[in-house]
Amino acid sequence: MDRLLFGDNQFFGINHMSEEKARAQAMRFQKTDAIMDVLDVAHDEGIRTFMCTTHDRITEVADRVRADPARYADFRFYPCMPYAHKYANAVTDHGMVGALRHFMPSDGVLSTALTGGRALATKEVDGIARVLIDMEMKMFDGLQTPVIFLQNVFTDLLLGMGFTRALRIFHDHVVTKYGVEPAFITMNMPMLLEALEKEGIERPIICANINKIGFRMSGGFDAYLDALKSGRVRAVAMSVYASGAIPPDEAIHWISELPGVESIVFGASSAANIRGTKALVDKYMGAPA
């Protein structure tokens, strides 16, 4: 993994500080051109990994990248799936079973199984999960996706319920079908690490909030540091600036001295902020692991 990954919250009206700012960003990035302009700035700065939700609009970004292989020869996506709102809406509209059926191939055995109203066999549940993953991956056909993440709301819901076998299904399918690295986003890193190890997943790639002031590091700041120091996790740090609460230089310097952090993911919409973070990461973190 590269040291610095570019995130996508800013493109989709997600801002943890202000609804007003979020709306201004949603307006600014309505056109894919505006997203591409920012991605190009990042790319020209040498940031070649775009860690992005499988939001419908990413389809357009993927199309642009596919259309210009010369310019984007080294461009890679780290998809983060699923885009939860799509499913939440489908569940509201069609109910849980109806929503799943909606997403299955209409003539397949899985759709039939869901229609039957009987209890699903374990292998059918696994099959449904695999179809859902493949569906999310469609937009990246022919593009580089060396790491595939499970989104935090899903990871953490499964983790909280103790349905960790689903994390294993995701892991195995990503390895077997795509031949790339599975990874997990979470707001509860210490608890997730333990659960993944119990599922037999060693040294997982985990993306979580890691910042000097312990902002949204559920399970406790010390437990995070212990996990990082133990060498049992390959971490991608997000919220390193804690939504602006930590000065950039101090934030990156602190992260750079942590063992176990391989990458930082950050979002920015201005060239100055992109260049600023890139310069700090080069200064303190140097070459990729």
Binding site: F12, G13, I14, N15, H16, M17, S18, E19, A22, A26, H85, A88, N89, V91, T92, D93, H94, G95, M96, V97, G117, A119, L120, T122, V125, V153, D156, L157, L159, G160, M161, G162, F163, R165, A166, M187, N188, M191, G214, F215, R216, M217, S218, G219, G220, A242, S243, A245
Partner: protein
């Protein structure tokens, strides 16, 4: 209590699943689940260690529970809460509490008689920015609040569609119970029960038979007038947005899930750290990390308070007790009656005396 608290989570729908995950992840809790519907129970039954019941009464009969978390369709809240309290269990119930406010008041009394922790899931009272709003309001630093705007918008019903329980009024569906309940509950927290509700509009947009938008005017004795503006057919919002704006004689305050903005005309000794002009505080700085984060600190925090109160034998809820939720149920009933009859419900609010003008000389004195 050193032993684990044993909690049954009832209803594994959208809210129930996330409650189940948060309760189940709590280190002090042993969790049992219960849901009537087949699919989720099937899948979870084969994949998690917890016992899952398909029938509520069977669960109550078979398990030695301390408490239940009820996240079923709203119509079932009253009977399920009654059954739990009668067995001496503590209850956390999703909002809205009861569709008939008489049930809410009866259950408030029952919970008090039995000294049970009885809480309702109005999670906005656990959002840092709204807590700060409440704190500031209680200091009186804003002077006399006269003018309030309470809003909620989001993308729930965007086209005509097949119904589930949320689209049936008798089941507790509709924008009033689902969305408007939140800003109304915050208004109850800030100002108590309104004296009068008028101008209520509960109208469908895409739905049949239920409201997709809600508007009303509320007045409090000696307190402000508030405008309620709620619409769950607004696609421009990514998810539900709730915001409250107030104007007082010494300034203005605004809060939503992310931030609390205050404008003070003059600083107030009761509110240190807030000078004249604007001060903005963010939920991120007003919130502590929970033991387990799923979808916002407030969801974890309300359950943490509930579990803590049960474990410590406090005998009552820390926040959002049944009485406070009953107040909101009653306020919603006022809106419904007002919308149906067209007549204002309640007595015209006794207006507060205007802030007396400072003596400014001979002419002012004479007036």
């Amino acid at each position: 209590m050193d032993q684990k608290v044993r909690i049954g989570v009832v209803g594994l729908g959208k809210m129930g699943l996330s409650h189940f995950a948060m309760v189940n992840a709590h280190p002090k809790v042993e969790t049992i689940a219960c849901d009537g519907a087949g699919f989720m129970v099937d899948v979870l039954g084969r994949n998690i260690d917890n016992t899952i019941y398909r029938d509520y009464d069977t669960m109550l009969d078979s398990e030695r529970l301390d408490a239940v978390v009820i996240a079923t369709p709203s119509r079932l809240h009253a009977p399920m809460t009654t059954a739990a309290l009668e067995r001496g269990l503590h209850v956390f119930c999703e909002k809205p509490f009861c569709l008939d406010w008489a049930d809410s008041e009866r259950l408030t009394q029952l919970a008090a008689d039995k000294a049970r922790v009885a809480q309702v899931g109005y999670h906005y009272r656990y959002v840092g920015a709204f807590r700060e709003m409440k704190r500031i309001l209680d200091t009186g630093a804003l002077g006399r609040i006269t003018h309030v705007l309470a809003e909620a918008y989001g993308p729930v019903v965007l086209r005509p569609k097949r119904g589930n329980w949320r689209s049936q009024k008798s089941e507790g569906g509709g924008c009033l119970y689902d969305y408007a309940a939140h800003p109304l509950n915050l208004l109850n927290w800030f100002f108590g029960s309104p004296a009068q509700v008028s101008g209520s509009v509960l109208t469908p947009i895409f739905s049949e038979g239920i409201d997709d938008q809600v508007m009303a005017t509320l007045g409090w004795d000696g307190g402000p007038a508030a405008q309620l503006s709620v619409n769950w057919s607004d696609e421009s919002h990514r998810k539900m947005t709730t915001r409250i704006t107030m104007i007082g004689t010494n300034g203005r305050i605004f809060a939503d899930r992310q931030e609390c903005q205050v404008y003070l005309r003059a600083p107030d000794p009761g509110l240190p750290g807030y000078g004249a002009g604007w001060t903005v505080k963010y939920t991120t700085e007003l919130t502590e990390d929970p033991w387990f984060y799923l979808r916002g600190e407030e969801y974890s925090a309300q359950l943490a308070d509930f579990i803590g109160a049960v474990a410590d034998g406090q005998g009552k809820a820390v926040e959002n007790d049944f009485a406070s939720a009953a107040q909101t149920d009653r306020t919603m009933a006022m809106l419904i009656e007002n919308a149906e009859t067209g007549q204002p419900v309640g007595a015209p609010p006794v207006t507060a005396r205007p802030t007396p003008a400072r003596k400014r000389g001979w002419f002012a004195r004479k007036a």
